[in-house]
């Protein structure tokens, strides 16, 4: 049977063998947590605790500000030792709450479990919001926003993203193997809230064990488990929708415009924790992997754990890393060091050696069109990049720079090693800045 997929895309080596067979381990608590108040797309939360204050595990330490925002919670019980700017994975210093664990790891008594049938859709969404659940795939978009589509845009299809197309990462894979019930409970909650008729779990075909296991669990349910062709970026929201439904989200639109909602499988598990157990999002699974780490692992980490602690738990470094990457190699962010904390979006910590980093000098574009064939949005990356680099923003915009999803497929395939997506990213930012300044 031919597997479903999207057009374009690339086939990078998946390198998941480092960690795919390793069961999730609970990461021991570090000496100190640094919980950034900005961890999601949208407005950062505001600290609501003071230095010296004792906090319980799961207690709110930062309150949400606005609709597209979520609160932050204490990852363990202990004492607040600082509320100040700390180095953040985004590359700058941002407000954070620093907590010294007391070793008790004692849950807050205010958290209330609830039964599946007891809550209305609105109450479920509110619980998800209060628990600070965000998209666990990496972008960390507040989940409650995607659970509250406006009434004129009803959702008929709910897609669970179990694709995990980024090379190296295996966190979602392990979640599907080890927590299928929790994921499916979350799926049921999401389906109930959204009123979706069709539910599909999309999984890349390189995880046949996860496909088989979830299929077994879904036998008696209307949930469909769909293996998808192994191709990057199969897990990008619009590409996943195209593969599963055969329909394209309109340019500039949202999935809800065609009646679809997409949530990550690990987000579904977090929804279960939030709704049924009243537990906020204070932990996640993070794949610590790559050739520079001694013992690659899938760790269940508390949010705010410093990267240095993760490295220590994984047996330390094999050699000095050349790149420290939060997330996967295709869309992850390089870090200046190990002193930043893991956030709710940290799906992986990838450590590459210097030898793993391509350092081919750039050469002129030979118009080989590999980027054109690779682009999942059918853009002309070489053309847009050339315009962006010359600051010809009107032309870059004309060639649909703003439609770029920044998957990086173009840069990956370019034989001239032109930083195509990097140039387009610059162009997009410049176009937005220009638009904003002209509005003022």
């Amino acid at each position: 049977m031919k597997l479903k997929t999207f057009t374009g895309g690339i086939h990078p080596p998946d390198n998941k063998h480092w960690s795919s067979h390793k069961a999730i381990e609970d990461c021991p608590l570090p000496a100190q947590f640094v919980v950034p108040l900005a961890q999601h797309i949208g407005a950062p939360s505001i600290a609501c605790v003071e230095v010296g204050q004792r906090v319980a595990k799961g207690q709110e330490i930062g309150s949400a500000k606005g609709f597209v925002s979520v609160p932050m919670h204490a990852p363990t019980s202990g004492e607040v030792v600082a509320v100040e700017n700390r180095p953040h994975p985004w590359g700058t210093s941002l407000p954070a709450v620093v907590i010294k664990p007391d070793g008790e790891d004692c849950w807050s008594t205010e958290l209330q479990p609830a039964g599946l049938g007891e809550l209305s859709p609105d109450e479920i969404v509110e619980r998800v919001r209060l628990a600070g659940v965000v998209g666990m795939g990496g972008a960390a978009f507040p989940a409650h926003v995607k659970m509250s589509p406006p009434p004129e845009k009803p959702v008929h299809t709910l897609i669970l993203n179990g694709v995990e197309c980024e090379p190296y990462l295996t966190a979602d894979h392990r979640m599907m193997l080890e927590e299928p019930e929790k994921i499916l409970q979350g799926v049921a909650l999401l389906q109930y809230v959204l009123g979706a008729e069709r539910v599909v779990i999309g999984i890349e075909a390189n995880k046949p064990d996860a496909v088989a296991l979830l299929r077994k669990h879904c036998l008696e349910t209307p949930v469909e488990v769909m293996p998808l062709e192994v191709k990057y970026p199969q897990g990008a929201e619009k590409q996943l929708i195209a593969a599963v439904t055969g329909r394209e989200v309109p340019s500039g639109g949202l999935p809800m415009d065609i009646g679809v909602a997409v949530h990550n499988v690990s987000t579904a598990a977090a929804v279960t924790d939030a709704v049924l157990f009243g537990r906020p999002l204070i932990e996640r699974v993070c794949t610590v992997t790559g050739p520079a780490i001694r013992e690659p692992k899938n760790l269940r980490i508390r949010i705010g754990t410093p990267l240095s602690h993760l490295v220590k738990v994984c047996g330390g470094l094999v050699e000095e890393p050349g790149k420290i990457i939060l997330g996967g190699p295709m869309m992850g962010f390089t870090q200046l060091g190990f002193d930043v904390p893991a956030t709710r979006g940290t799906s992986g910590l990838l450590l590459l050696r210097k030898a793993d980093i391509a350092s081919q000098a750039e050469s002129p574009c030979i118009r080989c069109a590999r980027c054109v064939q690779a682009c999942p949005i059918n853009l002309l990356p070489t053309t847009i990049a050339a315009y962006a680099r010359r600051d010809m923003l009107a032309e870059a915009s004309e060639y649909c720079a703003m439609d770029c999803i920044e998957c990086g497929s173009c840069s990956y395939v370019c034989p001239s090693t032109i930083p195509l997506v990097q140039a387009i990213r610059y162009g997009k930012a410049a176009i937005l800045a220009k638009k904003r300044s002209s509005q003022i």
Partner: protein, 331 residues
């Protein structure tokens, strides 16, 4: 942690394919055709190949030095131009003609536009056409093959296409009997340019490029398909006058042109639709020139004319971006 961490914007991995790897693969793919040429035409073909290739490399060095630019002959692109130029010359080309061609190809065909990636026309074809127009006698003096070890000397004769055109010009009809058979033409046992004679060797090299995913099927298929369809049409109308499509396929420079010259990435469209259009245009012009033009062969002119149309084709064949196909409209 050491102070030597790389900070960069994603992606952090690369396919490992490089321009010079691509260029070198093209060079390897041309070796069978070069080998067959040397087999059929002997040392004179080898001489043309060497002069053209070394001439292109030398010209590239001189141009880049003069312009104060880094010398990039190691990328292999100048060597490809040299080999392709040689393959587009008659085996009896005098040394000065070959060398002049090399200088024209690199200096006028490529470097004046800014070097690799910037030239609008296929450099080897620019050189071939300049030579063809400037030195028609030397450029159309063809030799019958004299395979190595056969003891034959190269004797001047006409190419199959030339043979046909002469007959049609004189009598309005096909020549009653051609000098060679279709299978001779396919293997390369016919007079012609050094590289165009063996369709088999060229296809072998092209297969390797397909396998390496350096060549896509679009342009060659559209080009060859158009020639076959259009020539079949004329042949069906008047088989007394027009040769059959297989003859068109295996004689002249069609295979060399369709698989190696019309697929030069720099001078051809970048979208799939554009590539197909480009190929169809090449095929159309080739047949029209062959059947109705003054020259017996039209592949070079066809490709150069379509090179000129490439920016226009690119402009009008932009792929439809994701989310605009109408599939997304809610039902």
């Amino acid at each position: 942690v050491s102070q030597q961490l790389y900070l960069s914007s994603s992606p952090h991995i690369h396919s490992g394919e490089t321009t010079s790897k691509v260029m070198h693969a093209v060079i390897y793919s041309l070796l069978p055709a070069c080998g067959v040429a040397v087999y059929f035409f002997g040392p004179s073909a080898l001489t043309v190949l060497l002069i053209a290739t070394l001439g292109c490399l030398a010209t590239e060095v001189v141009c880049q030095r003069l312009m104060g630019q880094p010398v990039t002959i190691a990328d292999g692109s100048a060597a490809i131009t040299g080999i392709l130029l040689a393959l587009n010359l008659p085996p009896s080309s005098p040394w000065w003609l070959t060398l002049l061609g090399a200088v024209i190809a690199i200096a006028i065909g490529k470097q004046v536009y800014g070097g690799l990636g910037s030239n609008p026309f296929n450099p080897a074809l620019v050189a071939r056409v300049v030579l063809l127009i400037s030195f028609p006698v030397q450029m159309t003096s063809w030799s019958a093959p004299a395979p190595l070890g056969s003891g034959l000397d190269l004797v001047t004769t006409a190419t199959p296409l030339g043979e046909w055109k002469n007959a049609v010009m004189l009598t309005g009809q096909m020549p009653p009997e051609m000098q060679g058979s279709l299978s001779d033409y396919f293997l390369g046992n016919m007079p012609g340019c050094i590289g165009e004679v063996s369709a088999l060797a060229l296809l072998l090299g092209a297969a390797y490029l397909f396998y390496r995913r350096i060549l896509t099927w679009h342009i060659p298929t559209a080009f060859v398909g158009t020639v076959v369809l259009l020539s079949a049409l004329f042949w069906l109308i008047n088989p007394e006058k027009y040769p059959n499509p297989v003859f068109h396929l295996v004689t002249g420079g069609l295979i060399l042109g369709a698989f190696y010259m019309a697929t030069d990435m720099v001078t051809t469209p970048i979208s799939t639709k554009g590539m197909l259009l480009f190929g169809v245009g090449c095929g159309l012009l080739t047949v029209l020139i062959r059947l109705f033009g003054g020259y017996p062969e039209g592949v070079s002119f066809a490709i150069l004319l379509m090179n000129a149309a490439t920016p226009l084709i690119d402009r009008y064949t932009r792929p439809k971006k994701f989310g605009t196909s109408g599939q997304g409209v809610a039902q």
